[in-house]
Symmetry: C2
Subunit: 443 residues, 2 copies
């Protein structure tokens, strides 16, 4: 009697904790993408999903509905194993910049479609675009051409792949409905399954700088995405190719690496490709890289990866990416060609002791305040600013010792951020040990 | 560090179950009313409130924020006690049509500002507008003039009183966020406190045809509104006049009266004013009327009310309302001047037994399907159609006996509704008693 293909009835059904069927979900997503259902109804729906969740069937129905609003790639001409890596987002996470060329140099095809930074998290695209001239808006045709030629390309989400996701993600961002397992899973997998991958490695982050602070919740998210990969794949013609997924749970209670900020992170990534990467960043890079090699059935593991760094093949691959995507390759050897702020403010410890906690989420938000991130999609970025982190959880500091530096030429913004930075670090007398960075691997 | 006067941060705070302060609520409501916060953010906020609720302080902050987006009436020139009645909405609830003239004839000033039907509930305005020529869109000036002259006027919500409520209610309706105690309380009280009342009688409905199916939830709603009345009032100059509120909990498991549908309910209301009202309808009318007299400190109770019906003073007052509001007064004696459909379809019992349940909510939605209600604010109404209810909960019916009639000249719609009507009635062999209509009075 109450027509179920009616947005209000569907919202109420989810609000009341009932399960939605495939038709209802497909109707909601496809009509929303066609602008036939307004933002405010989808916003209420997303908040209802935030509270009531979705079971596995609903999540995969949502993922498929989103995927089928757009095209799916066909990379069957490329014979190399096609493996991508996706991170759920963190602070200082420049692993993609290192891993994409590194894995391509190991013989994997890496069709990497990345996002922009939003809220406290940075975005691979923004970092790449701090390289003068670098283009991330290739057409799918140019993307494919580069993949065939180089084995790797790094582009932004196009309007052709899962347009529903682009529209829904923008809405989730402004309605505080980002951190929901079914919504995150459907969002990530609708794009990744459209990429025609053989395998996917997920870096699922937890801790103060991640969307999922809680390890158990991060694990549930990882398991959901692995299950989706096991049961669904790119459907082309009549066959359905499953996709193998490995999820690695990594600790985001500390920023990753020493630098945060767009061009600063590009420099740190290049340094890493030159064999001078910081320990924590390289640990995550190696773990994800090993998983990608495993999915690609390429032998050699960590040794192979280290070799590709040592013999500069990975660095040269990054140079090629920059060259093919119209960037200035000279930045590889001359960092002064990247926009980097000169003005620095040191944040000093106000007491002696051990660092017990860093509010990494707030560091991400302070980067936004500095101009290096965005709260809204339209916000323009200052790629030159950022932070250098000197101390992390478990470190001993003396009063007056430098905890971190603010790097920003807008002095009034830098000062405003400096005032708020002390609250980010919790220092106590009692000693405190840092926790394991790579917490668990699930597949 | 995270600016709290930011819609996204406010949504997240409520989503996470935290309490909002006065500034945050005021900012959200006033900026939304000024179109500076988009519908989609408020929709997500409303759904978060649906799940997380609001405490009394937040509810009154919300109510005041909504009230202060508009004007408040000043009826101090009128010396009569000013008492209004408000119903939380039901099916077949035409009590306002009877009570407004009836109470005015008892010496109460009744400044009644009513709403339109939406979803399964009917609206006083729609019913009045089925009277040819009847105008409900008086200016506040004309409204006041008529109140002084007649002691009663029945108009629709103007843009001047609590404009936030109009905008928010429209959004709640399409986002399935209507049935939330803080949202309902703030919505009702923001308008009623702006009416400059001395007292307010609330008909809080529960059961299958009400927004609140559950009696306990309806009681909580009633108590919240009574508390708001006790602590807040119309603030004019520096004084703050409290408003006395009595809430009567009435059973909405059955439609009220025999008729549902706009012009059909006008006829039933006139019949009631002529002393021929159905028992259940009159029981609710008397209970609410007695409460209004009590708040007005007018003695006489039920006897006075019955007298005003017997001596036709109440009926004449209704005639005056129609006359002053440009309606055709001849309808009082000649119902054929009202638009009433001729075509009738009888719904017959498919088995012998007792009626255990009526899905009154669905009857309301079937009226919408017939054309007599609306799902969206823009929908046009057919005032001529509706239902006549022959049997109610507890009644014994024989197989083939008439349960109710569908009255509608659009034969295909009538047939489509007829097919769905049997499912509304649950008939069982076992006998079943009807429950008390007036369940509780709270003040």
């Amino acid at each position: 009697m109450r027509n179920s293909l009616n947005p209000k009835v569907i919202i109420r059904k989810k609000r009341d904790g009932k399960k939605l069927n495939e038709h209802e979900i497909k109707y909601l997503i496809s009509e929303y993408t066609k602008y036939n259902i307004p933002d405010y109804q989808l916003a209420a729906f997303l908040m209802a999903v935030y509270f009531q969740g979705m079971d596995f069937k609903e999540t995969t129905d949502l993922m498929q509905a989103m995927m089928h609003t757009g095209k799916t790639l066909n990379l069957s001409e490329i014979k190399k194993p096609k493996i991508d890596k996706h991170s759920t987002g963190g602070v200082g996470d420049k692993v993609s910049l290192i891993l994409a060329p590194l894995m391509a140099s190991c013989g994997i095809c890496v069709p990497m479609i990345s996002g922009r930074g939003l809220g406290h998290t940075g975005g691979t695209l923004d970092k790449l675009e701090s390289i003068p001239g670098f283009r991330t808006n290739l057409t799918l045709k140019a993307f494919k051409r580069q993949l065939k030629k180089l084995g790797v390309a790094m582009i932004g989400q196009t309007a052709e792949i899962a347009p529903a996701d682009k529209k829904i993600y923008a809405l989730r961002d402004v309605t505080a409905t980002v951190d929901s397992i079914p919504l995150i899973s459907a969002s990530i997998m609708s794009k990744k399954l459209a990429e025609d991958l053989d395998g996917l490695v997920l870096d699922v982050k937890f801790g103060s700088g991640a969307f999922m602070a809680d390890l158990e919740k991060a694990k549930r998210l990882a398991r959901t995405m692995i299950q989706i990969g096991k049961r669904f794949g790119v459907q082309r013609d009549s066959r359905c190719r499953k996709i193998k997924v490995i999820a690695i749970l990594t600790d985001m209670n500390n920023p990753l690496g020493k630098y945060i900020g767009n061009s600063l992170e590009v420099i740190e990534a290049i340094e890493s490709l030159k064999g001078r990467g910081p320990k924590d960043l390289m640990e995550v890079t190696f773990a994800l890289g090993k998983a990608m090699l495993k999915l690609a059935k390429i032998k050699g593991g960590k040794k192979l990866i280290e070799k590709k760094i040592a013999n500069s093949e990975a660095l040269n691959k990054f140079k090629e990416i920059i060259y093919y995507q119209s960037g200035d390759v000279r930045i590889i050897d001359d960092y002064s060609r990247l926009p980097v702020a000169k003005n620095r403010i040191k944040i000093k410890a106000q007491q002696t002791g051990y660092i017990h906690h860093i509010d990494t989420f707030d560091i991400g938000l302070l980067l936004v305040q500095l101009g290096g991130g965005r709260l809204k999609k339209e916000d323009k970025l200052d790629p030159s600013c950022g932070f250098k982190i000197h101390k992390k959880i478990g470190d001993y500091v003396k009063k007056g010792e430098c905890l971190m530096e603010i790097i920003c030429d807008n002095r009034s913004k830098a000062r405003a951020v400096a005032k708020q930075m002390h609250a980010v670090f919790t220092i106590k007398r009692k000693s405190c040990r840092s926790k394991k960075l790579i917490r668990e691997t699930i597949h």
